[in-house]
């Protein structure tokens, strides 16, 4: 049989702390997933043996430390699954399936990472993997409540540009407003973006105009995460379709049917 590329681990929770009102960071012991994963890939987590909630939850890998085998997840509490995740005490087990999907191509000499809100999670892992080679990040948030992202990126990034919808931190407005100027002087040879679909579409459009190729990380509702159930189909520019969980979640912007 071919070499195993995906694993199921009962990962011990090492830390589970709040980064803001509703965003948490959980670090779990998941050596097999950590050893196999790349930035842009994700895991599907199961919260308890019970049958409700039934399905696994997809979460991007926000960090993977090869030496310790520690896997970092950064999640926003939005519903029953993430609520249960927030309640998990240190020492409890999280059922982790992964690594899943196709990640970012992080080669290239000057990369700009553009993320909105929780979409910054996979970009954080990309930035870390690039160290010591610096990257620049443009982080868009709602308010300075999301300041913590800046701190997280500071360690591994040359420059962290910040925008907030209410101007309470950095430039006021959407991160896409700040993008043209950056692209103009940045001489980037690649843009990686993750966030709300309209934001990513705009980022891709602007970068393409500036002649920079963009990779986008898509989101779909998923049951299996393995390419088996066909829940997560998205349209492709070639008129065909792709499975976000298997062919993605990361795609080249020109692969995607944005309509």
């Amino acid at each position: 049989m071919a070499q195993k590329t995906k694993f199921i681990e009962q990962a011990r929770v090492l830390t589970n702390e709040a980064l803001s009102k509703d965003v948490y960071r959980m670090v779990v012991q998941s050596p097999q997933v950590v050893a196999a994963c790349a930035p842009g890939q994700f895991v599907m987590v199961r919260l308890n043996g019970a049958m409700d909630p039934l399905l696994r939850r997809p979460l991007s890998i926000a960090g993977a430390d090869l030496s310790s085998g520690n896997l970092t997840l950064i999640y926003r509490v939005v519903g029953r699954g993430t609520q249960q995740m927030e309640a998990l005490p240190v020492g409890a087990r999280l059922d982790v399936l992964g690594p899943l999907g196709r990640g970012f191509d992080i080669t290239g000499s000057r990369l700009l990472l553009v993320g909105g809100g929780i979409g910054l999670a996979p970009l954080l892992f990309a930035a870390e993997r690039r160290c010591p080679q610096p990257v620049e990040v443009l982080a868009g948030g709602r308010t300075k409540e999301e300041l913590f992202w800046t701190d997280l990126f500071q360690q591994s990034c040359k420059q962290v540009h910040v925008t907030t919808d209410d101007g309470s931190l950095g430039l006021c407005g959407a991160c896409t407003d700040a993008l043209p100027e950056l692209l103009a002087k940045g001489e980037y040879d690649g843009v990686l973006t993750c966030g709300p679909r309209p934001m990513m579409q705009r980022v891709a459009a602007l970068a393409t105009m500036a002649g920079v190729r963009t990779q986008v990380s898509l989101e779909e509702h998923m049951a299996c995460g393995l390419g088996a159930c066909l829940s997560c189909t998205c349209g492709a520019a070639d008129g065909g379709s792709r499975q976000v969980c298997k062919d993605g979640p990361v795609f080249w912007s020109e692969e995607v049917d944005w309509s």
């Binding site: 049989m1 071919a2 195993k4 590329t5 995906k6 694993f7 199921i8 199961r46 049958m51 409700d52 909630p53 039934l54 399905l55 696994r56 399936l97 509702h221 998923m222 049951a223 299996c224 995460g225 393995l226 390419g227 088996a228 159930c229 066909l230 829940s231 997560c232 189909t233 379709s241 298997k246």
Partner: protein, 305 residues
């Protein structure tokens, strides 16, 4: 496991009575990292159609209490691509492949049976119960006459074992089962999904792109078990039971109710190792009770006082 799980269904030799349910196991390769092929009795591949199908647009899946709704809508590459590109690949798994066929008109089913006949697959599952295509399909499954006609049309075109997959969205499933048996079906499989829906209370729109979808998972198990029990008493051909099976204990219930084999669907998503876990649990259940072979459980429910 010493062969205590070995069994046979409509002429198909099964290493275990545990099949992968159509549409929930891809083409089998997606689970290679998690499942020992020796534990898989047969793989029923995703519903095939004559032409390629894009499936439904909009959201296709919604979680429900202990279950899920889906409206995939038979997305598939079409039977030609399947035969040319996919089948040669998955034959290497050396696990019996059963192809789930779907059509809008009777001729579609007949055509699919014909082209599959000599392809080297182990059997055909005739899906007359898909709730997720606007025209046809499920319509066939809820009327005894049309169900029988489709069955006969398929039988006429193939020597392969023909399994007819029944819809639970009927008043009396045994009536349909008897009709397809009379029309020559070699086995019946049940249940397909129950038609359900969900509404987004923020937008007031249906959650699913197709408005309604098929309910599956543990939530439906009691209904599936009851229908398997009723059907097993009504027909002489073997019954493949499915619907919410997630544990070895669930599997034993279906076997006792009269299923000769069972299929695991939604549980594969929750636990990609489900089939192997159930195989192990089933083997030890038999061992503890010194039962030599799993077939000795089939239909052994004690209902009389």
């Amino acid at each position: 496991m010493s062969g205590c799980l070995q069994t046979e269904l409509a002429g198909i030799k099964l290493r275990t009575p545990l099949m992968a349910a159509s549409g929930t196991f891809g083409f089998g390769e997606e689970f290679l990292d998690f499942i020992d092929q020796a534990d898989v009795g047969a793989i029923v591949v995703k519903g095939m159609t004559r032409e390629p199908r894009k499936g439904n647009s909009g959201r296709r899946m919604a979680e429900t209490p202990a279950g899920m709704l889906n409206c995939i809508g038979l997305q598939n590459p079409g039977v030609d691509v399947f035969l040319r590109e996919i089948l040669p690949q998955i034959k290497r798994l050396d696990t019996p492949i059963i192809v789930n066929i779907n059509g809008n008109v009777q001729e579609d089913y007949a055509y699919l049976a014909e082209v599959l006949d000599a392809s080297g697959v182990a059997g055909i599952e005739v899906n007359i119960s898909c709730p997720n295509t606007r025209h046809g399909c499920m319509a066939f499954g809820v009327i005894p006459e049309t169900a029988a006609e489709v069955t006969a049309a398929v039988k006429a075109k193939t020597k392969l074992p023909v399994i007819v997959k029944l819809s639970p969205n009927v008043t009396d499933i045994t009536e349909i089962a008897r009709a397809v048996e009379a029309a020559g079906a070699d086995a019946v499989s049940l249940i397909n999904t129950l038609v359900g829906m969900a509404i987004d209370t923020r937008t007031w729109k249906p959650v699913l792109g197709n408005v309604v979808g098929g309910l599956s998972g543990p939530a439906v198990k009691p209904v599936a078990l009851r229908m398997v029990w009723q059907t097993a008493q009504a027909v002489k051909i073997p019954v493949i039971g499915m619907g919410g099976i997630a544990t070895a204990n669930d599997a034993v219930e279906f076997l006792l109710a009269g299923a000769s084999a069972i299929a695991i669907g939604t549980a594969n998503f929750v636990n990609p190792q489900a089939i192997s876990d159930i195989a192990a649990g089933l083997a030890s259940y038999l061992e503890q009770r010194q039962i030599g072979n799993v077939s000795q459980l089939v239909g052994q429910i004690k209902t009389g006082e």
